[in-house]
């Protein structure tokens, strides 16, 4: 009798502990609470804040954070290190900047009386080039800013990923790609503003725009979370961990990589487009490898593969730059270089990653303790019951 009930009880315990699968919730409570707090902090700044420069920084940092998020998607989740993501950011930015500048020039003639952007005039152009005419329409420009980089990413993805070119080769090729775009922009200054970039088309810093950028950031964040929590997200992680095994389990690894690369580029382009409108200045620096790698470090500091990490890292590093670079001047660069080294050697999981791992370990340990406690409790009761049944029955059945 005792053994039968024992086995039933054992099965019950086993079933109970077996059937629970721990999943990180879509939005863990600390993230929800912290996130709402930060959103309120940023969103309400126009009301309590007095510094216009800080307001402009907030919008800028949000755009940077979205860019870092796009890098986290391909690097943290899928393991592709691309040193040229700024290409997509920059293309998105240039499309919008050109459109805004073209329209601005119509209403603000240059000193020579021309109705075309100043950098075009300096370079001898007398009218807006044909292929840029469509950009006069802002809506067209927005569509271009979002679609063209994504198509370029698709092209790149098909060329490299379908031939299993990953890792270092991919990093180097994206580095070169980014460099070449930079040089193109500098060289063809009649069309791009060259070294000076596109400036003076009035920025659109305003509370409304800030909220728009914030809303876009939240939507991208949620979208990225949904992606990484879907089965596709788990597949992406498995590709990152062992692409050989994933392929031999039937997954077309190249297609998954291409997909996530396009999503990432779309995000980067959107960030760039908003950035151009917000900041009012776009230059070749926004398309180059230096910017790309900076964003990689923000992601690494915050925690790669965590979706929250890029936001944390961007605001942390850029915020530190805001406070420190004035004081430190050249030494800030040395600090940044040191940060690269530090993050790689000592902080591979980043801040959020370290917190998450600590939480996971704690939870596993608690699970084990709880299970052991439960087992102890039941076996104790089992022993009590068997001892009682060993004693002679005092009552009549």
């Amino acid at each position: 009798m005792a053994s039968a009930s024992g086995s039933v009880l054992a099965k019950t315990i086993a079933n109970r502990s077996k059937r629970t699968i721990y999943r990180t919730p879509l939005i863990p409570r600390p993230v929800l609470v912290g996130g709402l707090f930060v959103i309120a902090l940023i969103g309400a700044y126009p009301y309590y804040g007095t510094n216009a420069y800080v307001l402009s920084l907030l919008g800028k940092f949000l755009c940077y954070a979205i860019f870092a998020l796009s890098i986290d998607l391909i690097w943290g989740f899928t393991g592709i290190l691309s040193l040229g993501q700024a290409v997509y950011f920059g293309l998105g930015a240039y499309f919008i900047a050109l459109s805004l500048k073209l329209n601005y020039a119509l209403t603000h003639p240059t000193r020579y009386g021309g109705k075309i952007p100043d950098f075009m005039e300096w370079n001898g152009l007398t009218s807006v080039p044909h292929f840029m005419q469509p950009l006069m329409n802002l809506k067209t420009a927005v569509v271009c800013a979002l679609i063209v980089p994504t198509l370029l990413a698709l092209l790149f993805g098909v060329i490299t990923f379908k031939r299993h070119i990953y890792g270092v080769y991919c990093a180097v090729i994206t580095l070169a790609e980014s460099l070449i775009l930079q040089e193109f922009i500098i060289e063809y200054q009649a069309y791009t503003g060259g070294f000076n970039g596109i400036t003076d088309y009035s920025n659109y810093v305003s509370p409304r725009f800030l909220w728009f950028i914030l809303a876009v950031a939240i939507i991208f964040f949620l979208g990225a979370r949904l992606l990484t929590h879907s089965k596709a997200g788990t597949v992406l992680k498995s590709i990152r961990d062992n692409d050989l095994r994933a392929e031999f389990l039937g997954y077309n690894v190249a297609n998954y990589r291409i997909f996530v690369f396009c999503v990432s580029s779309f995000m980067a382009a959107a960030a760039g487009a908003m950035y151009a409108a917000w900041v009012g200045l776009v230059s070749f620096l926004d398309t180059g490898p230096v910017f790309s790698i900076e964003a990689v470090i923000w992601t690494a500091v915050g925690g790669r593969g965590t979706i929250v990490g890029p936001f944390v890292g961007t605001f942390l590093v850029k915020g530190a730059e805001f406070f420190l670079s004035g004081v430190l001047a050249e030494w800030w660069q040395i600090l940044v270089g040191g940060l690269f080294i530090f993050v790689v050697l000592a902080m591979p999981d980043g801040i959020v990653g370290a917190v998450a791992r600590w939480g996971a370990r704690r939870r596993l340990a608690l699970d084990n303790i709880a299970r052991k406690d439960e087992l102890k409790k039941y076996y104790f009761q089992l022993r009590l019951r068997s001892e009682r049944s060993a004693q002679p029955e005092k009552e009549a059945p």
């Binding site: 299993h164 180097v172 090729i173 070449i180 050249e330 660069q333 790689v344």
Partner: protein
Amino acid sequence: MFTQSIITQFFNGFSVVAILIIAAVGLAIIFGVAGVINMAHGEFMMIGAYVAAVVDKLGGNTLLAIPVSFAVVGALGLLVERSIIRWIYHRPLETLLATWGVGIILQTIVKLIFGPELYYVGTPKFLAGGFRLIGRLPFPWYRLFLIIVAAALMALVFYVIFHTDLGLQVRAVRRNRAIASCLGIDTARVDMTIFVFGSGLAGVAGAVLAPIKSVSTTMGFPYAVDSYMVLVLGGVGNLWGVVAGASLIGEAETILSFVFNNVIGELLVFLFIVIVIRIVPKGIFGYYERR
């Protein structure tokens, strides 16, 4: 007339090829054996060039600058290797990021010491001028010097790799690291030696570059990127890959930049590399490795 210019450009390209070979061979060994991508390679070259500038100021010439640069940058490489690289061998993406940081630090430090202005190092007097190759084609003595240095370096590397004990160890570690260490080879020391040697070569590249390019803190980066492209195109694991990659890229860049302009030339070379990689993903001489 056009053909003549193309031929001129072809011979001009020899300089570029020679410099690329010198710059890339160090990188090739380091990546091929130790699995390290040194993003500070350009900065190492830059420091080699600054050393040459200092030597020049002190009255020496390029011939003296070469071994001095080798020593200085080699020592720098040792410092970087001992403090940073040795913890992250065989994780190329990590070394990529960490050495990028090193590069930033080096650039900033040099800028703090030497200031942002450009330095000019003259070619050694006995190498000034040139001779006439076929017909009226001018051929600077310095270019011949570069070719000789590149060839000598390749010969040196070949000799070390294939005819010395150290080279034997390097080849063993390259083939099968685990077994090599079982056989008593100190793989950590091999990695360190490789890194230091490769860094020294980068210094030499900078030293021979100084007379023909103005010395500034950002001069190294384009050569670093070109060196990686040489590795990507030529393949890692075979020294002939360096020669092949450098030759193709150097010549293509020179000729195409002449026909079109610098930027289009680079773009075309880049597209060419991408197309070749599509066909031969591991590079022309990269051998087919089992996954």
